[in-house]
């Protein structure tokens, strides 16, 4: 009996030592790679974010470091957010010329639709992009720019043009078309964009007054 216990103990020490070596080597390898690649990765990610922002805020509008201007907005019903969301302020010189907001349309056919919306200082949409959604493929996913240009019809609109009562899909008597058989998704998007505009018009001063060098979020 004692022999077996001793043999087991010996063996377990041996195996754990071997495993230890592999763990140390593996971890060291990872640590090394991580260290080497980290700057590159950060750069790529920022470039990626910027590419996305570029789609809603034309680069010709501003000259500041847009990524550095990121701030967090508190949760808001109009933005459809339950958690703080990001906002970027574009400036030309010191003058704020536009903002980019994250918003959520909570009433999509299959849950939340995440949007990125660019709004000029005077309340015109410069662009809208869907960043994440779970709408039925082939039915509701035409809101995705990769699938169809549908989302482009928001560009240039504001709370005044079209008038408020036309901020609906065509089927409900509004200005925005929707594909037959799939009106829930566009309804949700139209409503979310309109709400985001309203949010902007109410909070405009606070948003634009934000310090030029806002506290960058982590």
């Amino acid at each position: 009996m004692k022999d077996v216990v001793r043999a087991a103990l010996d063996n377990s020490l041996r195996t754990s030592a071997i495993l230890l070596v592999f763990a140390v080597v593996g971890t060291a390898m990872l640590a090394f790679t991580h260290q080497r690649t980290e700057p590159n990765i950060t750069r790529s990610q920022q470039a990626e974010k910027l590419t996305l922002l570029d789609q809603v805020l034309p680069r010709s509008l501003y000259d500041n470091d847009l990524l550095a201007s990121q701030q967090l907005l508190p949760p808001s019903d109009l933005l459809g957010t339950r958690q703080p969301s990001a906002m970027w302020v574009a400036r030309r010189g010191a003058e704020p010329v536009a903002v980019a907001l994250e918003a959520i349309a909570p009433d999509g056919y299959s849950g939340n639709i995440h949007l990125l919306i660019g709004i000029t200082a005077d309340g015109h949409i410069t662009g809208v992009r869907v960043t994440a959604h779970r709408e039925t493929p082939g039915l509701g996913d035409y809101i995705d720019r990769a699938k169809s240009p549908w989302i482009d019809q928001f560009t240039g609109t504001s709370l005044v043009e079209p008038p408020l009562r036309h901020w609906r899909v065509a089927k409900d008597g509004g200005r925005f078309d929707a594909r037959a058989g799939a009106t829930i998704t566009p309804r949700a998007v139209v409503k979310a964009v309109k709400d985001a505009l309203e949010y902007y018009s109410r909070q405009r001063t606070a948003l634009l007054a934000a310090p030029a060098q806002g506290v960058p979020s982590p």
């Binding site: 077996v4 216990v5 043999a7 087991a8 103990l9 063996n11 377990s12 020490l13 041996r14 195996t15 754990s16 030592a17 071997i18 495993l19 230890l20 592999f22 763990a23 140390v24 593996g26 971890t27 060291a28 990872l30 640590a31």
Partner: protein, 188 residues
């Protein structure tokens, strides 16, 4: 970084200890697989598989050194069962080892028997009785039909008699159902 290494080290040591301990402590004695294989084999002990008996062949299968298609008396049925047990594809019997034959028992022509006891020594299941210089006879009930006694007989008095179907041994056949149309092969 240090934390990551720490976690990995701790994990490694813990897992290593547990596995190393259990490997010795919970070692399974014997080979349960070989026993399961042995339970499937027909126990004729005929040695046609190239092993000195069913159990050695079972051990060889369990350790992976022998193929599952070497049991001639067991036929396709045994191959299929072994394939099921081991989770491998069934394959046809190794034709080089012999063709399956109808079940037979050995029969000693008692007129010709000289009582040399060679067949008694050859019988793997002690199914032949008799003594030196005395006539031998086969206990048909215990004979497995392995044919090992046929070759040693110096006077060729042992023959294999197929077991004929009679009333008590009759079996119902699988109902033949012609649901599919049979495509007649016209190849010569």
């Amino acid at each position: 970084m240090l934390a990551a290494i720490g976690v990995m080290v701790l994990l490694a040591v813990a897992i290593g200890l547990v596995l190393g301990w259990s490997a010795v402590r919970f070692k399974v004695e014997g080979n349960p697989l070989a026993e399961k294989v042995d339970a499937i084999l027909p126990q004729t002990q005929c040695g046609q598989c190239g092993y000195p008996g069913c159990r050695p062949y079972a051990d060889a299968i369990a350790s992976g050194e022998a193929d599952i298609n070497r049991c001639v008396p067991g036929g396709e049925d045994v191959v299929k069962k072994l394939a099921d047990l081991l989770g491998v594809d069934p394959k046809p019997l190794d034709g080089a080892l012999g063709e399956p034959k109808p079940k037979s028992v050995a029969f000693i022509d008692e007129q010709a028997c000289i009582g040399c006891t060679l067949c008694i020594q050859a019988c793997p299941v002690d199914a032949i009785v008799g003594a030196a210089k005395q006539m031998h006879t086969v206990i048909a009930k215990e004979c497995t039909g392995c044919e090992l006694c046929v070759a040693p007989c110096p006077v060729n008095c042992i023959s294999m008699v197929p077991i004929e179907e009679d009333l008590p041994h009759w079996k119902w056949k699988h109902p033949v159902v012609m649901m599919k149309t049979v495509r007649t092969e016209t190849r010569a």
